[in-house]
């Protein structure tokens, strides 16, 4: 039995300890916002927060989450950073196919919770683990800055 909270709600789960959190969320609890991309922590589509820290849920066994609080896309609007990002994501129409955007928003939320005024280098560092195969990176970068109340201009060398 594993006890934990997901998006503020307590759960006691009778599931194998080595089952990845991703599949607990998707197939056991019906929280489909978290996506499966690669299964080896290379693409970031499955990013969730465990106690506020972004993790790749595809390689995180359920046992690791014992006693923790998990936040997924479905619950991220409860954080100020998450709410700000979701608003900008809708206004700026960031997505193309949208499959990776759950992971992008979770990674960006963790960044803004840690660092409310990220530089472009900070954004590169925090977001490089999240692949957007449609390559909406320009809008993701600008969106993070807008959500942080910063100028969306890209200040990198060009």
């Amino acid at each position: 039995m594993i006890s934990l909270k997901i998006n503020g709600k307590p759960y006691t789960l009778d599931l194998p300890e080595d089952m990845p959190v991703l599949w607990v969320l998707r197939d056991e609890l019906g929280l489909t916002g978290t996506k499966f991309g690669c299964g080896i922590a290379q693409c970031g589509a499955c990013t969730v927060h465990i106690d506020g820290v972004p993790v790749r849920s595809c390689v995180t066994p359920l046992s690791v989450a014992e006693g923790t609080e998990i936040t997924t896309l479905e619950g991220v609007s409860e954080t100020a950073a998450g709410q700000a990002l979701l608003k900008v994501w809708a206004e700026d129409d960031v997505m193309q196919c949208g499959y990776c955007q759950s992971g992008q928003i979770m990674a960006a939320t963790a960044l803004l919770m840690e660092n409310p005024a990220p530089t472009d280098a900070d954004i590169d560092m925090a977001m490089d683990g999240n692949i957007c195969r449609c390559a909406t990176y320009t809008r993701i970068r600008a969106g993070i800055k807008r959500a942080a109340g910063l100028s969306p201009a890209d200040t990198r060398e060009a």
Partner: protein, 728 residues
């Protein structure tokens, strides 16, 4: 993808909605249109309260078509975009025409039919209003779905008119009056995706999220060698594992696009099926793959390039001109096989029996899927239903429907509905790869310093001597258009590797090959590469040759001239001062009816690592940009995708792909992304699609910039960074 302009007349028919509303069906024939209304498979529906529902007919793969096609209908209807609800149409190509996301065809084939459908609805509503308001149609004006009669001050909204309109004869769409584009209120405005809010809430709208009652989960483990046969396996041991309900072998049909030999594992949960699959041990007969290696292929290519190949296209006497040329520039170019890697792994949910098949799939080509299911599983097409889900990336991979056949076959045999989900390893191992190719190129320069002849001998891959899917090496329209003597020859390497269409198929490889070689020619002539291109264009235009001739690749040098001149200004090309390790490169390309010219600015570090700092793109995709949000996103995505292709490579050993997951195939990430300046020239031409044409020119633009920065000419992909390192 073939570039055939599909033009078809659109027939409309109407019916009355329950509760009193207008229902508009449409089809490729009048009979089909009537059936559409009768079957309640409406295209546009207006409820008595004025709510407008528009069905989006083509698969949404991130290209924004579920938003942009309904925008076109709504525009001609004279309603507000906020009044519209968009729902996905059922798959029925008899009613809707082609329902496909491929070849950037959705806009060019649907733009006018969608406008005419919207205009026909508007006209019927006006005719109903004329009766209700006792005024002639000509005296009526529509503002936001409300019909006004100025003289009397009377008005009626569409909902009030819908029932009466539904009783009227549907006008011939060919005869309805379309709006003057200067009056557009929706087309040309930036609109967010109609399903974006659902995505941001995590709603289960992707294929992978599908859940149907009684559904089990499945994996299908195929041999690592393409086309290998099942011999034996520890199936009994797998059956005993937790959650596993069935394990069985499916035999392949021999169709490379259909069912292959494999072992299906059905379980209560996907994780159980996947874990069981990790313990599966199968002996395969892998003889078919013997000798199908990247190295063997290269040796074969070397041999083939010593021969003459088959002539694909020829004009003038290129061989003679080359033999007598003052100068000959020659080079060999090579591109590798590369994968698709859409982020949503292949998946499909099926409820299938011997008589019926129902499918929920993220596919780019649901109609092709129905036909393939019918053929592979011997179920009549009219007993097959395919539901389109949102698609987590297409890139051409989902023009194939192999996962659909697998899911249906597993469900049939298991006797339960199943959701098949591939692992990423499956997705990479069983891709339909963009095939590699090699090219020997020669350009003859005459004693006046003019490009006199151009020949290309390309080696590509195929079966039975013919190029397989995505392996065509069509001529480069720019070069073949500017040069008097031209010849293209082809040789084919037999392969067992499945090949397919990757975003901007053929063009994504050929742009690199021919536009880098054109840069070589410019440098051989000691000319500025952008100015040289304009010189060639101007000479072609001065020759009086026809522009946009009928044919597979109609090419209009006037359009390339305009974008190239605009690009020169926007990129600051003339004023750029090269500094250490930073260079500019230019390229143009025409594909999928779209013209793009791009300049890349690339920085190469002393250790050979390189980064694209900025890309300027100028495109001509016709007279309007339907949804700027989607359009700019497509161009930026195409450019970044194209840069990524410069880094990717799949190699083969004895018929199997060597690379297994994303750690072995670099994909573009945030820090790799350049700044991008996109500009559209609005020309007089009909609007065309943007899923692909901005991609091809970025590959040569970047490689030409690397040459400008380092003096190293990239002729082989992926780019080998060690070649770019320079002594400090």
């Amino acid at each position: 993808m073939t570039e055939v302009m599909m033009s078809r007349r659109l027939f409309l028919s109407s019916a009355t909605l329950a509760g009193g509303g207008l229902l508009l069906g449409f089809g490729a024939t009048a009979k089909e249109a009537q059936a559409a209304s009768a079957n309640m498979t409406q295209y546009v529906a207006i409820s008595s309260t004025g709510k407008v529902t528009i069905r989006a007919k083509n698969p949404e793969i991130g290209q924004g078509i579920k938003t942009s096609l309904p925008m076109i209908v709504a525009e001609e209807m004279d309603i507000d975009w906020t009044q519209v609800e968009v729902v996905t149409a059922p798959v029925n190509e008899k009613l809707y025409g082609g329902q496909i996301a491929g070849g950037s065809t959705s806009i060019p084939t649907n733009y006018e039919p969608m406008r005419r459908a919207g205009a026909a609805v508007r006209l019927m509503l006006l005719q109903a209003a004329a009766v209700k308001l006792s005024a002639p149609v000509e005296a009526l004006q529509v503002i936001s779905g409300v019909v006004h009669h100025k003289a009397s001050g009377k008005q009626a909204h569409y909902g009030e008119l819908a029932q009466a309109a539904s009783k009227l004869t549907v006008p011939d769409p060919a005869s309805v009056t379309l709006k003057d584009p200067k009056d557009f209120k929706i087309i040309g405005t930036a609109q967010g995706g109609v399903d974006s809010a659902k995505v941001l809430k995590g709603e289960p709208i992707f294929g992978i999220d599908t859940a149907i009652p009684g559904m089990k989960h499945a994996i299908f483990r195929k041999p690592p060698v393409f086309g290998a046969k099942f011999l034996s396996g520890n199936l009994d041991a797998i059956r005993a594992l937790p959650g596993v309900t069935q394990v069985f072998v499916l035999k392949g049909t021999g169709n490379i696009q259909g069912l292959q030999d494999g072992v299906a594992i059905v379980a209560d949960k996907w994780w159980q099926a996947k874990t069981a699959g990790d313990q599966l041990e199968v002996q395969w007969d892998e003889a078919i793959g013997k000798g199908h290696d990247t190295e063997t292929y290269r040796t074969q290519a070397d041999t083939l390039l010593k021969g003459t190949g088959d002539s694909l296209q020829s004009k003038g006497t290129a061989a003679d001109v080359l033999a007598n040329a003052a100068t000959v520039v020659s080079a060999r170019y090579e591109v590798p096989f590369i994968p698709h890697l859409a982020l949503e792994p292949q998946n499909c949910t099926a409820r299938a029996s011997a008589e019926h098949i129902e499918i929920w799939a993220p596919t780019q080509a649901p109609g092709w899927g129905i036909r393939l299911l019918a053929k592979e599983l011997n179920v009549p097409e009219d007993k097959i239903t395919v539901h389109m889900t949102r698609v987590g990336g297409g890139f051409g991979r989902r023009l194939e429907n192999d996962y659909m056949i697998e899911a249906a076959a597993i469900s049939q045999k298991a006797g339960v509905p199943i959701k098949l989900l591939w692992t990423r390893e499956d997705d990479l191992a069983y891709d339909f790869f963009r095939p590699g190719n090699l090219h020997d190129l020669k350009a003859a320069i005459d004693d006046q310093g003019r490009l006199a002849a151009y020949t290309a001998h390309g080696v590509t891959y195929g079966r039975d001597g013919k190029p397989s899917a995505g392996a065509n090496i069509s001529p480069h329209a720019f070069t073949s258009g500017v040069v008097e003597h031209f010849e293209l020859r082809q040789s084919v390497i037999e392969t067992t590797i499945p090949t397919g269409y990757l975003r901007a198929p053929s063009s994504n490889a050929l742009a690199f090959v021919h536009e880098c070689f054109l840069d070589e020619i410019a440098h051989a002539l000691k000319k500025d590469p952008l100015t040289y291109r304009l010189e060639l264009v101007n000479a072609q235009l001065a020759s009086g040759a026809p522009q946009s001739p009928e044919g597979r690749n109609p090419y209009d040098f006037r359009r390339i001239k305009e974008i190239l001149e605009t690009l020169r200004t926007r990129s600051g090309w003339a004023d750029f001062k090269a500094s250490d390790g930073i260079g500019l490169g230019v390229a143009t390309y025409f594909s999928h009816r779209g013209y793009f010219a791009e300049v890349a600015k690339v920085k190469v570090a002393p250790d050979g690592t390189w980064r694209v700092l900025k890309v300027w793109a100028v495109g001509d995709v016709g007279s309007v940009i339907i949804n700027p949000f989607g359009a700019y996103n497509q161009v930026e995505g195409s450019i970044i995708d194209g840069i990524g292709q410069l880094k990717q490579c799949i190699t083969f050993e004895n018929g199997r792909a060597v690379q297994t997951n994303l750690h072995e195939v670099p994909l573009m990430r945030m820090s790799d992304t350049p700044k991008i300046d996109t500009h559209f020239i609005l020309s007089d031409n009909p609007p065309t699609g943007l899923g692909e044409p901005a991609l091809p020119p970025v590959l040569p633009a970047v490689c030409n910039a690397i040459f400008a920065a380092t003096g190293v000419r990239i002729r082989t992909l992926p780019i080998e960074e060690s070649l770019l390192a320079r002594p400090s």
